[in-house]
Amino acid sequence: MYKYIWLVPLLPLLGAAINGLLGRKLRFSEPVIGGIAVGSVALSFLISVAAVYSYGFGSNAQWPPNPYLTSQDGFSFEWIPGGAVHINHGIQSGFALLNVHWSYQLDPLSSVFMLIVTGVGLCIFIFATGYMHGEAGFYRFFAYMGLFMFSMLVLVMGSNFVMMFVGWEGVGLCSYLLIGYYFDRQEAANASRKAFITNRIGDFGFALAIFGIIATFGSAQYTQVFEQAKTFPMETIGHWGLLSWIALGLFIGACGKSAQLPLHVWLPDAMAGPTPVSALIHAATMVTAGLYMVTRTNVIFQHSQTMMLVVALVGAATAIFAATIGITQNDIKKVLAYSTVSQLGFMFMACGVGAFVIAIFHVMTHAFFKALMFLGAGSVIHGMHHEQDMRRMGGLKKYMPYTYWTFLAGWLAICGIIPFSGFWSKDEILWGAASTTQIPLGWIVWAVGTIAAICTAFYMTRLMAMTFWGRERFLEAPAGGEADEAHASAYDKGLAAHDARLPSAGDRPRHEPGEHVGPVHEDVAHHTATHGHADEHASDKGGHGHGAHIPHESPPSMWVPLVVLAVFATIGGLVGIGPAFRSVTGTEHPGGRLNIVNWLSPVIWSPATEAAGEHGSEPLAEGTHGAEAAHGPASAANGFNLAHAVESSVHSELATEWIFIVISLVAAGIGMLLGGLFYVWRPALPDIWAQRLRPLYLASYNKYWVDEFYGWAITRRTMDLARAVFAFDAKVVDGIVNGLAWLSRQFSRLVGGFDKYFVDGLVNTIAAFILRLMSPLLRAAQTGFTQNYALVMVVGLMIAVAAFFAKDIAAALRSVFAAIM
């Protein structure tokens, strides 16, 4: 079955091509476009499930598995036919033929991503058919989304770095297109450009790393590269060997794509795109491409202890940084965006401490609960008539039950409450940080991660409280201010703009320039037609005026995906139940191959087992992933190790693990209780504490002024440079050119004068002289009398005759003279 996985990326591409190329021309209706898009993704998902099942669990599945390449069954083509590559890395030198095949690879890692991308993608596609209803650019949206699915699947299914790069750039392009979906809004256009340019910086590092890989290993194919990389020597902290530099380039690429410090600035702005885009691209899939890449190249990363430390510290810094910003944001999507950045930081933290499997586990659970929450936010925005400011929400629990209950699952998951999915992955990340032996300073990473977890629980509780609980603030009169005006204006225009839904509406999103909200959706009349309960809403609107729209629950096409995702956000973590529960489950990683640790272990290289000579010989790899290797004797080299310190005092490994689980649960509880205290029981507290901690509050509220700093340090300096270059160009270069022009003008004036007065004068003088001399003579000859002319002819004839007979005449004359004399 799994030889058909080449269809998985192809189907969304086909759907995108049909929608994008024909959707407008043939005026496909929304069900047709949505059907093509959702159908292609659903088919991809089914093929993925079948392929992964037969690959890992089928009757003839091998274990440990070998990577399956579609080229084995001929489903590939020679994409970049070979050229000789000069390999020079000291160990072996020479030339290799670089042949890049376009072939897909199925292995445990790519299978996890295939399922996430197509599965979560399917939910989001279905959601989007409801959310984008009524958009003039409906076909365009789904064309971009399909193209994104294709690119993302190429990224995770490619069998070599060049294919990964193609997918990498493809998702970047689609991200750009989809952030700028409302391209007539300046804010969206700016955000899309910001995302694109910031990603370029990361892609630069990634491209350099790929060149380095090709130059070092003579191949871009994963299997060949990693086979060779395993034989390279380890590079300890401070030793910047070849693999460290390659890993640095790769990590710069990952930072750009996964929004890590210092390249995180584009992701919050990317919320200008439609909410399904935020859910699919900027929460569930694309931003995790960096994690996929780091995990895919874990052999290279694990060779470089320096880069592992860098990854862990950058991840930890990003986690706490973004989490603290998330506390003070008021836009529901901005909170979720910073939450995503923070969670991505957690994942990099896990990679950095060597727990790659856990990072991917968190990618998966995060895809579930963050996609759920983004879609929930989209549902809220939809129900609130494009209101995104949480200060104007509240009490939505009553109006949007499906959204509320599913969001609740996501909230518990991200806070890390047992047994919701987020608990399992986040707890393992913190445990991995505390117990790591691959890098020093693991305890700092753990401490920062725990604080970030508290912040996470706090701001998510705040989001819940401000959105779903408490007073129904949307009933109150608008408090004025920019947001309210924009809102009211949007509402006004929203009513009027619905005429634009006629077939002739073209491709313009129905938004006003100042509008700051998500997609426009149905008008009141439409609600009345589709939802029976909309009648009282319409009448309520008359009474409350602007800013007092009664929210409504979203249609089933929107809440059904929410329910599906909520189920996964709740139970999805069970595939990664940690070793701390071995007394309950009986084994460290229960579930056999269904356990994500067992499933992914074959693709994770383990330096510890490598050193012990056990690599590749452990079936089902019980407890040998990176974090577990912590208990080896090598730990002493990396200084203080928190987990070991605790373990040496309690004298029990199990007890140590449980201590950390309790700490993590307590952290989540503290965050949630604080959030409840601030926003449910004592609503006055936030203002009081914002006053008390005013500098901190302002720093967080203004996102630590990173954008301002970049604007000052990079954008302004670039502009200054451009201005300086322009000035140089205008003054010096143009000056030289103009000066030369002036010089040649003067010179030509000189030459012209000489020519005019001297040469021409000379010529004229001579000509005049000759003319005056000769003209009377010649004029006199022209008498006009025929006889004169005839005379001249006769005289000439005579002269001619005389000349002809000159000798004879002379002789005759002589004889005459002789006769006379």
């Binding site: 008498t783 006009g784 009398f785 025929t786 006889q787 002319y789 005839a790 006769v794 005459v816 006769a819």
Partner: protein, 137 residues
């Protein structure tokens, strides 16, 4: 003195010594004209014609002078024809036939020329060539 110096040889040329009776010789020569006689007459006719063309003002007279020139040529043709007939080297009739052509062309020329003269007279009211200097322009 210089004039005298050139005049005397001319006289000498005219009155050079001839043997025998001069008149008898001249009569003989007239009765048996050789080629040179015809050529001299032709040359005289030609000179008279040219002088007439160059000097006369009446355009009709100029036409008549042109006829003289043409006839001088005709005379030469005929004379040479006769001369060559005696030597018998080439087809001697060629000269006579050419003469006929010249006469034909002369007739045509006279017709055209007189036509031009009439046209000229009608426009300029004159047949005096020194009043006609249109070629200047």
């Amino acid at each position: 003195m210089n004039m005298l110096n050139s005049f005397i040889p001319a006289l000498a040329f005219l009155f050079q010594e001839v043997e025998g009776d001069r008149w008898a010789q001249m009569r003989h020569a007239a009765a048996n004209p050789d080629l040179s006689k015809f050529l001299v007459i032709g040359a005289l006719l030609f000179i008279i014609g040219v002088a007439g063309v160059l000097t006369r003002r009446n355009i009709i007279v100029i036409f008549m002078s042109i006829e003289l020139i043409l006839n001088a040529a005709n005379l030469n043709f005929v004379a040479f024809s006769r001369y060559l007939q005696e030597t018998g080297s080439v087809n001697a009739l060629a000269g006579q036939i050419f003469t006929v052509f010249v006469i034909v062309v002369a007739a045509a020329e006279a017709a055209i020329g007189l036509g031009i003269v009439i046209a000229l007279y009608r426009n300029k009211e004159t047949i005096w060539v020194d009043e006609i200097d249109l070629l200047k322009w």
